[in-house]
C-alpha cells in the first residue's frame, strides 16, 4: 500500500476512534474496548473494500456489512458518520431515548445499517443468508461480517460456519476480531474458543491471520478473499482491545463502560496525539 494512502486510512481510523469515544462518553455507557479494536478493519471496509454509496445506501447491488458483534455499534456508527451516511454530530445522541442510534445496530432506523444485530451469533448467520441470497439471484455484491472472539463461544457461530462452507459462499468474508478479552476475562480463561484458524479450516473455510491494525495486511487479506473461489474466507484479525486509548488497551475493564469526564479527556488527548503524529 502506498504510504500516502496508508497515512490517510490511519487518519480516518483515528477519527473513527474519536467518534467512538465521543459517542460512548455522551451516552455514559456502551462498549468502547471492542469498538476501538475494530476501528482499522471498519475503516478499511468502508473506505476501501466495499462497493457502497452513502447517498444511495439502499442500492440493492451494494456490498453488505453485518456487525455480528453488535455491542460494538459505536464503531459502526462512527465509521458510517465518517463516511458521510449521517452527521458526526449525531454520534452524541448514541443510546439516548429519542435517538435512532440504538445501543445495538438497528437496520430499520439507521442509514447504512444493513442488519439488526446485538444478540451474539445471529448476525453471522444473517450474513450467510445475504451471501446465499446473492448467489441465488447471481448478484455480484459481497457480504462482510465482523464477529468477536468471545462471540465465537456461541454455538450458532459454528452452525453458520458449517452453512457458509456447505453452500460455498465465496462472496462472504468473516473477520474474527481476536482481541483476546471478553467481559469476564481473557477468552482462553473464560471458555477457550481457540484455535480459530484450525477450527475454521476444519469447517471448510479459507483462513488468513493478520494484525488487525496493519493496513498492508488488511488490504492483502481482503484482496486474497476476493480471489478464493468455492469457499468463504475467515480473517482472524489479532487486535488490541481498546486500541489507541492508553488506559483502555488490553483491559477487560473497558469492555462495557464509558469514561467519566477526566478519563474522557485523557482518551481524547491520547487520540489527538496520535492524530498529530499522522500529519
Amino acid at each position: 500500500m502506498e504510504q500516502s494512502k496508508k497515512l490517510e486510512l490511519k487518519r480516518i481510523a483515528n477519527n473513527v476512534r474519536l467518534g467512538i469515544i465521543e459517542g460512548v462518553y455522551n451516552a455514559a455507557c456502551g462498549h468502547p474496548g471492542g469498538s476501538l479494536s475494530i476501528a482499522d478493519i471498519m475503516t478499511y471496509l468502508y473506505f476501501e473494500e466495499m462497493n457502497i454509496d452513502p447517498k444511495n445506501y439502499k442500492d440493492p447491488n451494494r456490498d453488505r456489512f453485518v456487525l455480528s458483534k453488535g455491542h460494538t455499534a459505536p464503531a459502526l456508527y462512527s465509521v458510517l458518520a465518517e463516511r458521510g451516511y449521517f452527521p458526526k454530530e449525531d454520534l452524541k445522541t448514541l443510546r439516548k431515548t429519542n435517538s435512532r442510534l440504538q445501543g445495538h445496530p438497528d437496520m430499520k432506523g439507521i442509514e447504512g445499517v444493513d442488519m439488526t444485530t446485538g444478540s451474539l451469533g445471529l448476525g453471522f448467520s444473517a450474513a450467510c443468508g445475504m451471501a446465499l441470497s446473492a448467489k441465488v439471484s447471481s448478484d455480484s455484491y459481497r457480504v462482510y461480517t465482523v464477529i468477536g472472539d468471545g462471540e465465537s463461544e456461541e454455538g450458532q457461530v459454528w452452525e453458520a460456519a458449517m452453512f457458509a462452507a456447505h453452500y460455498k459462499l465465496d462472496n462472504l468474508v468473516a473477520v474474527v476480531d481476536f482481541n483476546g478479552l471478553q467481559i469476564d476475562g481473557p477468552v482462553t480463561e473464560v471458555m477457550n474458543p481457540t484455535p480459530h484458524d484450525e477450527k475454521f479450516r476444519a469447517f471448510g473455510w479459507n483462513v488468513i491471520k493478520i494484525d488487525a491494525h496493519d493496513f498492508d495486511q488488511i488490504e492483502k487479506a481482503f484482496a486474497e478473499a476476493r480471489e478464493v473461489k468455492g469457499k468463504p474466507t475467515c480473517i482472524i484479525a489479532h487486535s488490541v482491545k481498546g486500541k489507541g486509548v492508553s488506559y483502555m488497551e488490553n483491559s477487560c475493564e473497558w469492555h462495557g463502560q464509558a469514561p467519566k469526564e477526566d478519563l474522557y479527556k485523557v482518551a481524547v488527548e491520547d487520540l489527538k496525539k496520535i492524530g498529530e503524529s499522522l500529519k
Binding site: D106, D114, M115, T116, A126, C128, G129, M130, S133, M162
Partner: protein
C-alpha cells in the same frame, strides 16, 4: 363427513402451487419430508435450501435473505421453530420486521407417539408476544392453503401453525368459504354460549355445537384462524350475543387462544370464559385419539365446559 387431510400436507401443496406465481425461497432444517417442504424442493430444487439440524442458524439465515429483499419460508417442527429458535425469531426476524414466513408443523399434542419433547403446546403463546408477528393457526387443509397465500401477501413476519395429524377438511364443503387475514369466521350464531376455537379444535367445536343443540343449548361457533392480530370485534360481538364463551385450542390454556380471547373480552365486555386446551401439562406418547381423550381435547369436553360457562352467566 369431509375428507381428512393434515394441514401440513396443504402447506406443502400450497408452497408448490404458489411457487409458480410468487418468488420466494424455502428453508428447512432436515425435516423436509415431514414438514412437506420436500414437495417444494422436488419442484423447485434451486429455490430450496436445507439448513441441516440447526434451527437457530436457519432463522437468522432467513432474516439475512429477507434483508436483501426476498421473501422466504423457514420450516421446522413448531417445537424447534418457535421454541428452540425463539430468540432468533424475535431478534433476527421480529425486531427488524423482516419478510420471513415461519411454517411450523407438528404443533400440539396430535404429534402422537413422539411424545412431550416434540409436542409443542407453547408456540402460540411465544409467537404472540413478539411485536408485529402475525400468528395463523388454520383449521383444515382448505384454510391452510389460504393461510399460506395470505401470509405471502403480508409484508412482514408470519407464524403459520400446522398439524401432523389428518383433520376433516370441512371448509372444502362450503362454496362461500373465504379467508380474510385477521377476520374470524362465524360458523354459527348462538345466544347461549359461543365456542371460539382454532386449528384442530374447530371441527370438534362444530360437533360440540350439534351435541349442545340436542340438549336445547344454542351455541355459536367462531373460528379464529388468525390469533394475532385477533378479530377483537368478532370476539366482543360473540360475547355480547351469547354472554358466555368457551375457547378450544390444541395448546396450553395459558397464553394461547384462550389467553388472547380473555384479553379481548375483559377489557371491553367481561363475560365468563372457560378454556379448553392442554391444562398446563406436558404431553406424552400415545395414539392421537387416546391422547385427545386423555387431555380433554374432545367435543364432549367442550360441551361440558360450555355448560359451566353458561352456569357462570349473571
Amino acid at each position: 363427513m369431509a375428507d381428512k387431510k393434515a394441514t401440513r400436507e396443504s402447506y406443502g401443496a400450497a408452497l408448490c402451487e404458489l411457487g409458480e406465481k410468487y418468488d420466494f425461497l424455502v428453508l428447512d432444517a432436515d425435516l423436509a419430508a415431514a414438514t412437506k417442504t420436500g414437495m417444494f424442493k422436488k419442484k423447485f430444487p434451486h429455490r430450496f435450501f436445507d439448513c441441516g439440524i440447526a434451527e437457530g442458524n436457519m432463522m437468522s439465515v432467513a432474516a439475512g435473505i429477507a434483508a436483501t429483499g426476498k421473501c422466504v419460508f423457514a420450516s421446522s417442527f413448531a417445537m424447534f421453530a418457535a421454541g428452540r429458535a425463539f430468540e432468533q425469531v424475535r431478534n433476527s426476524i421480529g425486531y427488524p420486521h423482516l419478510n420471513v414466513k415461519i411454517g411450523a408443523t407438528h404443533a400440539g399434542i396430535t404429534v402422537g407417539e413422539d411424545g412431550a419433547t416434540h409436542q409443542c403446546n407453547e408456540d402460540i403463546a411465544l409467537m404472540r408476544t413478539i411485536p408485529g408477528m402475525t400468528v395463523i393457526c388454520p383449521a383444515d387443509a382448505t384454510e391452510a392453503y389460504e393461510a399460506v397465500k395470505a401470509a405471502i401477501e403480508v409484508d412482514g413476519p408470519v407464524y403459520l401453525r400446522f398439524g401432523r395429524y389428518a383433520v376433516p377438511n370441512f371448509n372444502a364443503e362450503n362454496p362461500d368459504y373465504k379467508f380474510e387475514l385477521g377476520k374470524a369466521v362465524k360458523l354459527k350464531s348462538g345466544k347461549d354460549v359461543t365456542i371460539i376455537a382454532t386449528g384442530y379444535m374447530v371441527h370438534l367445536a362444530l360437533e360440540a355445537q350439534k351435541m349442545l343443540a340436542e340438549e336445547g343449548i344454542d351455541a355459536g361457533v367462531l373460528n379464529i384462524h388468525t390469533i394475532k392480530p385477533i378479530d377483537k370485534e368478532a370476539v366482543i360481538a360473540a360475547a355480547k350475543e351469547s354472554g358466555a364463551i368457551v375457547t378450544a385450542e390444541e395448546h396450553n390454556i395459558i397464553g394461547g387462544l384462550g389467553g388472547a380471547v380473555c384479553e379481548a373480552v375483559c377489557e371491553e365486555c367481561p363475560v365468563p370464559v372457560v378454556r379448553v386446551g392442554v391444562e398446563d401439562k406436558f404431553g406424552r406418547s400415545g395414539q392421537v385419539p387416546e391422547l385427545l381423550e386423555l387431555y380433554g381435547l374432545t367435543a364432549k369436553n367442550i360441551c361440558e365446559k360450555a355448560k359451566i360457562a353458561i352456569s357462570k352467566k349473571k
